[in-house]
């Protein structure tokens, strides 16, 4: 989330799109309700009428996978009717930037496309450069740190300032290019793609675009319904662009709010658990592009904005990992960091590699891909080729017993499987980060039962044993493990999570003092920090091992602004710690115009009072310079709108995306219709793994569109919830939602067993015939959609059922490889008794 849960109350229009917040994030509705009580309108865009839709003022049924067309139409509507927030767009976005004439777009393809490699050359989409300003590395310059002793040698970067047209009239400025790009998304076409009746479409556009009025706030709450598509990243781009056009980023009640689907999935991505990331959203080094630290720094560091500090964060992280072993002479142990080969190593690719045998062992930590993976039948077959597997979980999940799956050739499977029982969250202490980036400390309530252990303890024991073996027996690259700094043990040799927290927070190497801000981190090896964005959350040097005395353990429930005179807007700054720096609404400089005047005084987050900045929230910009005892406020015109981009403004046009700088509508890999906007049917930048390509189906054979969803009663693959009778009872059986019309066509009534199949698998589920799903008119024909939860599997005594993911395709998005769980084709029939 750019904003946070309690901030939802400040919205005027809440768009819940591709999310079922009421069911999957129940507490969010508490704040949505507060907004509603204030008069806010809630709209839900979803293929199925969910419990979120039940609470909405407007429900917009959409064909699954057509979100981009919906947004494109909305952009067009905003441009055509001048509903954008003009001052915001001019001040805080790259709308005025001039793009090189090499940028073109024709019939669904942008310039620079290589059809063979299925990739683009993003250089074709660069800005016209007005001026090149090298980094000032002189002793008084902004980049003096580059020359500090201990800092690795690298070539300082050059700030390429783009050409701009503040009037937004230049035909090659981002604003004009964008306007033109989306002119094709007329209400007629969009209605035909999305299946939304035109009048409802326009009504919904008008409602949401009403937040473009200065002083109004609109928020988008989204989840997997937006991301789990072969163009999921572009859906997210589209939401960001929409919010920028309407001036909804960085303001109270605005934001692009990703509702994270697990209690700590935010924390896991913060800590670099995504395959391409290191902690703190640093990119994982690439073996060919980053042969040494200097190369990494030169290629990965931005030439302007906050990410110019990236070397400080990487080097501090390496210092935390390798301690004294990491020195400037050995590139701070940069060589020890796993590099990626250039090939993607996403979930999909991992299982592809298991199938071909290049991955032999698998450790699963609270994961259940046998039920949760895309095309999970393929994943179970791939696991059968493993030599060994370790499953760490609270329960014996389907994956831990994958060899017992229906249809598995148990006798032929030779995988050795170890089950390590883990402690649940009440049985260990540690922190979790929620969607609003709050890092909250949780305490242990009870001892884990039996042999169950804290995950960190399991990791530590495995590490110490491996280290012992490597030291005794040697092996390939033993230093990677043997040189690791592992100062996290207590006197008894057990893991001490507070020591890890201190390492994550960061400290000065010389005296071990925790640091309060990542502004203190250095690239010269004098600081260590596991995850720079967390700095400050565990920084109380007076009680270094007491979580209750840290910001992460802070539980002050009063709501007040940082500075007097600012409004109270539900920030709750004294409750836990929100990264970065306890900032609740990021990019909050954009809540004011160029002169520092808030667009909405009543909900102001920061404000220039003529002499200094008044703060409601922690400012997301350099609002003052402190030199010794002298504090100098930074005047508004010298502050940056978006510190995290090279442009230091937000991007309506983004050259970093794999499939083009503007989000464009493509059909899902399995779609019932042809793309009506171009002859490019699917995302041109996606490459498909073999097992997915072999199992693609067409609408002729598989005419029904299917999507998957979660229920409030169950959790993910059901490992937890299907073993708890109290929860099972509230939703005991696997079912599929079928429209009345489709049910009638197929002679199905509620309660029948229905067979759903495609080339990837066959499952059965009980029919739930309901008006919550309805046929749609798309591309001149009637399209039927069905929807099923994916919580069921074969591994519980309490509740078993068909696995929806036996049907989902293992096709991923071009940028993140998130699987296209949400749109695929099937056929259905009533099961004969």
């Amino acid at each position: 989330m750019t904003n946070h849960w309690t901030d939802l109350q400040n919205s005027d229009v809440i768009m819940i799109n591709g999310s079922n917040a009421a069911e999957n994030h129940p507490i969010s509705m508490k704040w949505v309700q507060v907004a509603k009580d204030r008069g806010a309108k809630v709209m839900v865009v979803d293929p199925r009428f969910s419990r979120s839709a039940a609470l909405a003022d407007m429900y917009v049924p959409i064909r699954t996978g057509s979100d981009m067309a919906y947004y494109g139409g909305l952009f067009n509507h905003i441009f055509a009717n001048k509903l954008y927030h003009e001052d915001y767009v001019k001040t805080h976005t790259n709308a005025s930037y001039i793009v090189k004439s090499t940028y073109t777009f024709d019939d669904g393809i942008f310039s620079g496309y290589d059809a063979e490699k299925k990739s683009y050359d993003a250089k074709q989409w660069a800005y016209e450069v007005a001026e090149e300003v090298p980094w000032d590395t002189s002793a008084t310059g902004a980049y003096a740190w580059v020359n500090k002793p201990g800092t690795p040698a690298f070539t300082p970067l050059v700030n390429k300032k783009a050409k701009k047209d503040p009037t937004l009239q230049d035909p090659n400025c981002v604003f004009q290019l964008m306007k033109k790009h989306y002119e094709r998304y007329t209400p007629e076409v969009v209605s035909q793609i999305t299946g939304i009746p035109q009048d409802l479409l326009i009504e919904s556009y008008d409602l949401y675009a009403s937040t473009g009025e200065p002083g109004k706030a609109g928020v988008i709450m989204y989840a997997m319904g937006q991301t789990q598509h072969s163009y999921g990243s572009q859906n997210c781009r589209a939401m960001s662009v929409l919010q920028l056009l309407l001036g909804n980023i960085g303001i109270a009640g605005g934001g692009v709010d990703a509702l994270r689907g697990e209690s700590n999935v935010q924390g896991s991505t913060d800590m670099g658990l995504l395959f391409g990331n290191l902690p703190g959203y640093l990119n994982l080094p690439n073996a060919s592009a980053h042969k040494n630290l200097a190369e990494y720094i030169e290629k990965e560091t931005q030439y302007a904005g906050w990410w110019t500090n990236r070397p400080k964060y990487l080097i501090s992280m390496l210092k935390e990992w390798y301690g004294d072993y990491a020195t400037v002479e050995n590139d701070y142990a940069f060589d020890m960091v796993p590099k990626f080969s250039g090939k993607p190593h996403s979930h999909i690719h991992m299982f592809q590699e298991m199938e071909t045998g290049s991955i032999e062992g698998l450790m699963l930590w609270g994961q259940n891909p046998a039920v949760g993976g895309p095309n999970c039948g393929q994943e179970r077959r791939a696991m059968a080729k493993l030599k060994w597997m370790v499953a760490v979980d609270l329960w014996e999940t389907e994956t831990a017993i994958f060899w017992k799956a229906p249809g598995a050739d148990t006798a032929a499977i030779e995988t050795e499987v170890f089950m390590l029982p883990a402690a649940c969250h009440y049985e260990k202490q540690g922190e979790v980060a929620n969607s609003g980036r709050w890092i909250q400390w949780r305490y242990k309530a009870v001892e884990p039962p039996g042999e169950c252990k804290d995950d960190a303890e399991i990791i530590s024991e495995i590490y110490l044993k491996l280290k012992e073996l490597y030291e005794a027996e040697g092996g390939a690259n033993p230093e990677q493990l043997t040189k690791l700094s592992w100062d996290y043990l207590d006197a008894d040799g057990h893991i001490d999570i507070t020591k890890i927290a201190k390492g994550v927070n960061g400290y000065t190497v010389a005296d071990g003092k925790a640091l309060a801000s990542f502004g203190n981190l250095q690239a010269d090896g004098s600081t260590a920090c596991g995850c720079w964005i967390y700095t400050g959350y565990f920084a109380n040097n007076d009680a270094p091992s007491d979580p209750t005395q840290q910001k992460t353990g802070a539980r002050d429930n009063t709501d007040k602004p940082l500075d007097e005179g600012m409004p109270v807007v539900g920030s709750y700054l004294g409750w836990s710690f929100a990264w970065p720096l306890n900032r609740r609404v990021i990019y909050n400089r954009c809540s004011c115009d160029a002169t520092g005047k808030p667009y909405n005084e009543e909900k102001a987050l920061v404000k220039w009072n003529g002499t200094k900045w008044l703060r409601g929230d922690v400012p997301d910009f350099g609002f003052q310079v402190v030199a010794g005892d002298v504090t100098t406020p930074t005047p508004p015109e010298k502050t940056l709108s978006f510190m995290m981009t090279n442009e230091t403004v937000a991007r309506l046009f983004a050259s970093g995306m794999k499939e083009g700088p503007f989000p464009e509508h493509y059909e899902p890999f399995e779609s019932p219709v042809q793309n009506q906007l171009s002859s490019q049917q699917t995302n041109p930048a996606v490459s498909v793994v073999a097992s997915a390509a072999e199992t693609m189906g067409t609408a002729d054979e598989f005419p029904i569109v299917m999507t998957t969803f979660r229920l409030t009663e169950h959790w993910q693959t059901g490992g937890l919830t299907r073993n708890l009778p109290w929860l099972v009872e509230t939703m005991p059986k696997m079912f599929v939602e079928i429209s009345k019309e489709l049910a009638e066509e197929n002679g199905i009534v509620s309660g029948d067993n229905v067979v759903i199949e495609n080339k990837r698998g066959v499952i059965t589920a009980y029919a739930m015939v309901t008006g919550r799903v309805k046929p749609m008119e798309v591309g001149g024909k009637t399209v039927h959609q069905i929807a099923a939860p994916w919580h069921w599997g074969y591994g519980s005594t309490c509740s078993i059922g068909g696995m929806a993911n036996d049907l989902t395709p293992n096709v991923g998005d071009a940028n993140t490889h998130i699987p296209e769980y949400k749109s695929f084709l099937v056929k259905i029939r009533k099961q004969e008794v």
Partner: protein, 275 residues
Amino acid sequence: MAETAILYDSSKCTACKGCQVACKQWNQLPSPLTNDEYTYTESFQAPLDLAPNTWLIINFREEDKEIGIDWNFMRNSCFHCTEAACEMACPVGAISHKDNGAVVIDQEKCIGCRYCVAACPFSVPRWDEAKNKTFKCWQCFDRTSAERQPSCVSTCPTGALEYGDRADMLGIARERVDQLKAAGYDKAEMYGEKELGGLHTIVVAQRGLEAHGLIRDPKIGITDFWQFLKPLGGLGIAATTAGLGFSYLMALGYKRGEYSYDEKTDTLNVKEVEK
């Protein structure tokens, strides 16, 4: 103790069923343990009905529309009526009102006769065959008497459930109905202010009572007064006994004559007994 009530606002309810589970947890009501014991309910409503081990469920009602549906939720549990038919029906006095208005079955006294089951207009009490007792929501009286909210209320994430002084709950409900009407829900109504002498579960019915499956104007029927037969019957039996006693006294000392009959002559002879 002041009169208290639970307020259920259907317009704020997301039907997450957290209250259902919280009820089971606090009151330690078991659910079946094996896959085969569960049946498909054909609805999001699960379990489908109240039961001895299920004192609270959320009801789901769908009304089809051209776009989407109206999905009307309702908290189905005891209303804790002031004029409680169950209490009136209980032959052994096992059901009583607490000072705060909660209607509670004393399991020590319950004989499992199911009179309350038949009497309740809302079909709330449920009989457990194995235990031969009847069970229902008791508004977590153990919690409320210790200044805590009922379990269901404490777990509600959206504020659809509240608990407090009945007068306050009525005030909130009234205000909420006005708000809903202003927002276009013309049929929004409050339930529980006057019904059955006043309920201790107040409901805000977003789309009107019928849409949420509420009984409009429930009444105490003649059969609910059957316990008045008890004093009446006692009176009748006492009167009879008294009358017969009087008769006995009046006839005391009476001696009948000796009767005989000569069938040949068809003569009846009566020999009077000496007095």
